[in-house]
Point group: C2
Chain length 550, copies 2
């Protein structure tokens, strides 16, 4: 842009629009006026107000995950930024290109320790972002913001942070918006051809190879490449370990799919070669009791981010590359004709996988069983449904029972920041309006984001929220059980009880259509009602408070 | 303690109990099991579960403010800590001795970047605390924790942070708990006698002196000293500027009280000497249009924290001391007989103060006026009532109209972290069970802590919540009005609308008795009902959504 200039706030909006951003998720305060004012010039630009920053960032994250495109959360000062950090961690782990803007008080007030000022606000974001910067001059804003977008999209992608002082936003900016097309990273990293030859040779000669797909396979649009390689080799494929799982890299419905990676599974233990593609190895929840990879297997790790390889376990071969280029390269590098792979392995492992129902909560008289709830959910998850999972105790049960076909049938977070799905589902629904988006949360997780309900209601974003209410922090009780002390002796679990919350009533208070169920058998009909309802809807289903998880 | 040792978790509990701590506010996860398990040995020790960390820290802050004693919030990993930072800022600004403990994954997982691990978790807390440390050995835990308590109480008091890894908590600790009485800071800082002589002389010879009381006067139990000095001199007294106001240092009912400090008030402008005691000078909200202190007045600043003096404005004389010792020293240092003070000033300024009703929202047909709500509230605030204020747009109106007599009639926060009162009121009520604690929030602020309602309901803590619901982020609209751009032209305020929330319904969903009002005249009866109700109660009162604040 040339001409007499416009406010820094308008320059921000122009830069956002140039990058194709059509909405911000924001919880503003007094420091964002110049930007908000500028949005009035563009009726097609949406200002989605979120009454808590955790919703702004998780919604932006959901949108960014579903589209691969940058999404923007605009927060207010360090107190607002702080409120969002848990979910910024989720965006970090999922390599989600969320650009977090934070309005700051004018420079003078920052120096004075003014209202809502701390020194170096961006350092709060630093553990979670690929770059943090505070604009120092109004003229620098379009370039600073361009850099934030570029780095958010530069592999390994992830969130970035930019601080914008109120005085700069109000001042005049004459700097043009740099052309995004000249700054958008497009080049993929190709694998070292020598490495590809070597691994292709290993795959052709291994008798019991296993492929493990991570979320990065889906994010880099390499699912078809993985399927082609798996089918050509006739090998079993797993999705990555539950603790790093963010979205499926391989379809659960595919005949070669044999479950989530778990070193205790026979198909893992008898592998002589494991090729991990686009996953972290590993995110540990507890100190492991043994190795996470069988010592007999050779290990190949393919990842875009060289820093992920060898992070904990040494590998036999490393391939730093876009998963699509690596996997298609491996397919092309295989010798013609037969490979050495044992042909019976897939069917065997698939049968074993299908027979193993996973954790089975005990049947308790008068209270619904969470496995039954998961099965009832599975029955309503069709090809046009996207599940956004955010349940702690129930997580493993859902992952075992719900279909997860890439790229869009299942999203979750490995961050440990509860309540992520309350906002993420909103962003995902906005990204994919034709899909039925179902957020599935535990009651504990729900409590970290009830404000998302208002956003869904206010902007008529028809997400279906399912809250599995066991009236417990079962994860806390499970930890006490593992600890094995007085709590187990007395069967008293301090910090567990979360009873007496009527989630459906809360949802109605936010203007969301809500139903409370006591039986999994009611879920089908309730879901039909929820889908038929024009706006968002919530289904609360009560389950056994005494089940502490697998 | 001697003997064969106990778990690190039990050592934590013993240390807490030695310091007189009888409860923790906690949102635990898998890393706090050893501690939670230990609490079962002590039925008198309360584990208050909060379903969001913001409530844990604000409740601990409220308790610490009301008692001056340390209070403990026990959080889970960096994601839990992050959720609490906004209110940790509130504790920082109020010099509130909140000890924040954070459970961390075992050391090995921290090194591996395991689930819910980041490098150096404590740095998140660093901008807000007086010290942060992560225990490195189980044997060090009692000492590390003792240091956290000591520093929280060491002037200028404030929050501290200690990270506790799960492996250390599970290991055996044989180290004894250091005797708190040997580590509790008791010595007050006495003022430089020369400074006292000088300022006493200035006070005796000034014709128009003014005293300004900060929250630190109340926190250091120096209100009586200030009253004695004010009465002896016959001078007007103000409470500090609204932007730093945390609690009254001087009773609003006292005949010498003439309002909140504001440089535009005639009683400020015609002062030839202003003695600021125990307040910050200043916390600016906007770039000031002129000096905050009249240039004609000599300025004396009394504060425990030397770093607060001269932070922005130069002063004529600095007194670094406990406010009680400084103020009683000044009284003792005055010459016998008459002082030069103009005798008419107090009455004049008091009359002016009483006549000035402060900001007056316009009367709008069919919607209640927030000034009427404030007056109705004022009518029910008696000597046994404590108001916990947390309203943005309405803040100034409440401060003008509600009685605020130290030490316990009014608490608020200058942090800018909304929702603080949702937890703070809980802590304050636990500290002072005989007082009627009324939390007054705007609807925007309420949305940052609805989970507090469950805590109040679950533990039957009979706080009365009053939510003034104007269905707006009026502060955002006010910022747009100050910006004076397209929003003002079109009278369209993006980011303002927060309509459609039934706060009373949400409260009922959390198990809290709730009433929704449309008229201030109903407040008295509703408040009586709320007080009569055995548990917590919420009163929602609808007000004019178009009033953007003063």
């Amino acid at each position: 842009m040339t001409g007499p200039g416009r406010s820094g706030g308008r320059a921000v909006l122009e830069t956002l629009r140039a990058w194709g951003v059509r909405r911000v998720f924001t919880c503003p305060g007094s420091t964002e006026a110049a930007f908000l004012d500028a949005t009035l010039d563009h009726p097609d630009f949406e200002v989605i107000l979120t009454p808590h920053e955790s919703i702004a960032v998780s919604a932006a994250d959901g949108y960014a995950r579903a589209t691969g495109e940058p999404a923007v959360a605009y927060l207010h000062t360090h107190v607002g930024l702080a409120n969002s950090l848990g979910h910024l961690n989720a965006a970090r782990l999922a390599h989600s290109p969320v650009v977090v803007l934070t309005g700051l008080k004018p420079a003078l007030l920052q120096a004075h320790g003014g209202f809502t000022c701390i020194q170096d606000t961006g350092r709060l974001a630093e553990p979670y972002v690929r770059s943090y910067w505070q604009s120092l001059r109004t003229e620098g804003i379009p370039e600073d913001l361009t850099r934030a977008f570029r780095l958010a999209l530069t592999e390994p992608a992830g969130p970035t942070w930019l601080g914008l002082s109120q005085d700069l936003m109000n001042d005049t900016c004459t700097a043009p918006v740099p052309d995004p097309e000249r700054f958008r990273p497009r080049a993929r990293t190709a694998p070292d051809p020598e490495r590809i030859r070597e691994v292709a040779g290993m795959l052709a000669t291994a008798t019991s190879p296993l492929l493990v797909a991570g979320a990065e396979v889906a994010r880099h649009d390499a699912v078809a490449d993985l399927i082609a390689l798996a089918e050509r080799l006739g090998v079993p494929v797993m999705n990555e370990d539950r603790r790093t799982y963010e979205r499926p890299g391989f379809p659960t419905s595919h005949p070669n799919y044999v479950g989530l990676y778990d070193v205790k599974r026979p198909v893992v233990g008898d592998s002589d070669l494991i090729v991990f593609a686009g996953c972290r190895l590993f995110t540990e929840f507890e100190v492991p009791r043994g190795p996470d990879v069988p010592e007999s297997a050779r290990v190949v790790h393919i990842h875009t981010d060289a820093a992920e390889i060898g992070a904990i376990h040494g590998v036999d071969l490393d391939i730093v590359a876009d998963e699509g280029l690596a996997l298609s390269g491996l397919l092309a590098g295989l010798p013609e004709g037969d490979v050495a792979v044992r042909t019976d392995r897939v069917a065997e492992a698939r049968t074993e996988y299908l027979a193993d129902t996973g954790p089975l909560p005990p049947e308790t008289e008068g209270v619904e069983n969470v496995a039954a709830v998961a099965d009832a959910l599975a029955a309503v998850v069709d090809d046009q449904t996207t599940v956004v999972g955010d349940a702690t105790t129930t997580g493993a049960i859902l992952l075992r029972r719900l279909p997860q076909n890439p790229p869009h049938q299942y999203f979750t977070s490995s961050s440990g920041s509860l309540g992520w799905a309350m906002g993420a589902a909103i962003g995902i629904k906005l990204a994919m309006p034709d899909r039925h988006v179902v957020a599935v949360l535990g009651d504990g997780a729900f409590q970290f984001g009830p404000q998302g309900l208002w956003v869904a209601a206010r902007y008529q974003i028809p997400v279906t929220y399912v809250v599995i209410n066991n009236e417990s922090y079962a994860a806390v009780a499970a930890a006490l059980r593992r600890y094995g002390g007085t709590a187990v002796e007395r069967q008293e679990f301090p910090g567990k009880d979360l009873s007496g919350i009527d989630v459906a009533a809360i949802a109605r208070g936010y203007g969301v259509h809500a139903q409370r169920l006591h039986h999994a058998s009611e879920l089908g009909e309730a879901m039909a009602k929820a889908k038929a309802h024009p706006g968002p809807s919530l289904i609360e289903i009560m389950t056994d408070p005494d089940y502490l998880g697998p």
